[in-house]
Amino acid sequence: MWDSQVIMMIVKGTGATLYMTLVSTLLAYLLGLPLGIALVVMAPGGLKPNKIVYKILDVVVNIVRSIPFLILLMLVIPFTRWIVGRSYGATATIVPLSLAAAPFVARLVESSLLEVDHGVIEAAQSMGAGTWAIIWKVLLAEARVSLIVGGTIALGTILGYSAMAGVVGGGGLGDIAIQYGYRRYQVDIMIVTVVLLVLLVQILQWIGTKLSKKLDRRITG
């Protein structure tokens, strides 16, 4: 049964999983990065404190984060249909994946930016830097290592979520594992897909760690 057809299917599945993970992560950052920045800037004691907006963002992020991914996936089906035209397959999965990951990314970004030494921010203010200059040149630039580590965590998590979408025909390795391994008791196919998922996470993690180390200037010598 390990004919070229099955192998092709697994190769395509790997490609679909990577496609979903990378595009969803990108979109999640497009939403989550500004959200994370806003959470830091508008927080009490932040650069531009805004109690009301902060509280709203904080609550929205918490609500979306507390909805289990599978439920969110189903909840947003009408929205997904409206955007992509259908609710199954890899491209359709990107919609709920990005939406679910965005608040998670926002929290990752928030915690990275909060690590930036307050003294450095104060120094920038003392030089006459405005809010935008501080966001770009101090917060994001100084937190870049932590942001990359966070990005790696996000990639791994989103990859895991993408496999979950297999339950509703989301495409990719998770879909194959569920259809063949779970529904047809083809344990060997399931094992292969799981091994491939593990490998993908390992590779992404390795690249992320390597990159963050390369970009860190705080290490002496």
Binding site: E122, A124, S126, M127, G128, A133, K137
Partner: protein
């Protein structure tokens, strides 16, 4: 000596109250102070006295609860955000923990302040190199802050502060994280900057030695109020307030003597009186012993000033005679009640 009387910084009735959840702290309780152009002004106080809050009010990093600050006659509290940011490029600041950007090289750190003022890149890099030369770190241009010592980091911070040609340099405990030798070198650099470029410097510190080393004027802040202000020599020779006495007499050279409660005097020597063996002569003349509780010499603006705390004999006549003897020698003599060494 008062040649430059033009006012640079004017602090008017500044108060600052921090309101917490269940307590309010009055950090500043009505501060009035004037700093003139070209001065090196020391603001000294114990920790918690309010000095760091005060220096942050000078560039409105902390907005005073009431009162205001004028820089060259311009009222900071009346400024729009953009005007305030422009003013801040003229009132530079250095910090106890240097606050450099850890992910940027030394030269890029110096360029940072010029990026904010939108200086053309090439011009900024040339200026940064010039400044590295001034602070003596030319060979470290490509290094990262993590590879520098504390003294070197503070030099980078000074270069970054000077990049925009400020009129004022605020130093918030700038030498408190440095060892004595490095402290001296940084203070010498600040003095050089003050003399060469005429930049007015305000130094916040808890160490009297820093004030004595380079300041021309000093303000002593204690529990949110100014206890005393004046020229450093005058305050050192004739401290009036309790806070000043505490900072000057106990200073860093805290004497650990068991004797207390008896009659003590503090005498101050200026440079000309230090040639004569005054104490030895006094003992010979009065024929009674004294106990030396503390003695040190400090350099104030290049002139040696010595101070000594003597415990006089219990015999009142002998003690009076000694005080008179010292006064006749034109020394500053001050009786200390309850000197606790």
């Amino acid at each position: 000596m008062e040649i430059h009387m033009e006012t640079m910084i004017q602090i008017k009735d500044v108060t600052k109250t921090f309101v917490g959840k269940d307590n309010t702290v009055e950090a500043l309780k009505g501060i009035n102070l004037e700093v003139h152009k070209g001065e090196i002004y020391g603001i000294i106080g114990m920790s918690g006295a309010g000095k760091s809050t005060l220096v942050r009010c000078l560039n409105f990093l902390e907005r005073p609860t009431s009162g205001t600050v004028l820089i060259e006659g311009k009222d900071l509290s009346a400024m729009k955000d953009s005007e305030l940011r422009d003013t801040r490029t003229q009132v530079a600041m250095i910090f106890q923990h240097f606050n450099l950007l850890m992910q940027r090289t030394v030269i890029d750190n110096i360029c940072f302040s010029m990026e904010i003022t939108k200086t053309p890149k090439k011009e900024a890099r040339d200026r940064a190199r010039e400044l590295l030369e001034i602070v003596g770190l030319s060979e470290k241009a490509k290094a990262y802050p993590a590879q520098l010592s504390g003294g070197q980091k503070q030099r980078v911070a000074i270069a970054r502060a000077l990049a925009t040609n400020p009129k004022v340099l605020l130093c918030d405990e700038a030498t408190s994280a440095l060892d004595p030798t490095t402290t001296k070198a940084i203070l010498a650099l600040l003095k050089e900057i003050n003399q060469k470029y005429g930049i007015t410097i305000v130094i916040i510190t808890h160490e009297m030695s820093v004030v004595q080393e380079i300041c021309s004027h000093v303000a002593i802040i204690d529990e949110g109020i100014l206890a005393e202000t004046g020229r450093v020599e005058e305050v050192f020779q004739r401290p009036k307030s309790r806070a000043a006495k505490k900072l000057i007499i106990q200073g860093e050279a805290e004497p650990r003597m068991e004797m207390k409660g008896k009659r003590c005097v503090r005498i101050v020597f200026s440079s000309n009186s230090s040639y004569e063996p005054v104490i030895a002569n006094m003992i010979l003349t009065c024929k009674a012993p004294v106990n030396i509780l503390l003695a040190d010499t400090r350099d104030i603006g290049g002139v040696a000033h010595g101070q000594m705390i003597l415990q006089l004999p219990e015999d009142t006549d002998a003690a009076e005679k000694m005080i008179q003897y010292l006064k006749n020698r034109k020394l500053e003599v001050e009786e200390l009640d309850n000197y606790v060494g």
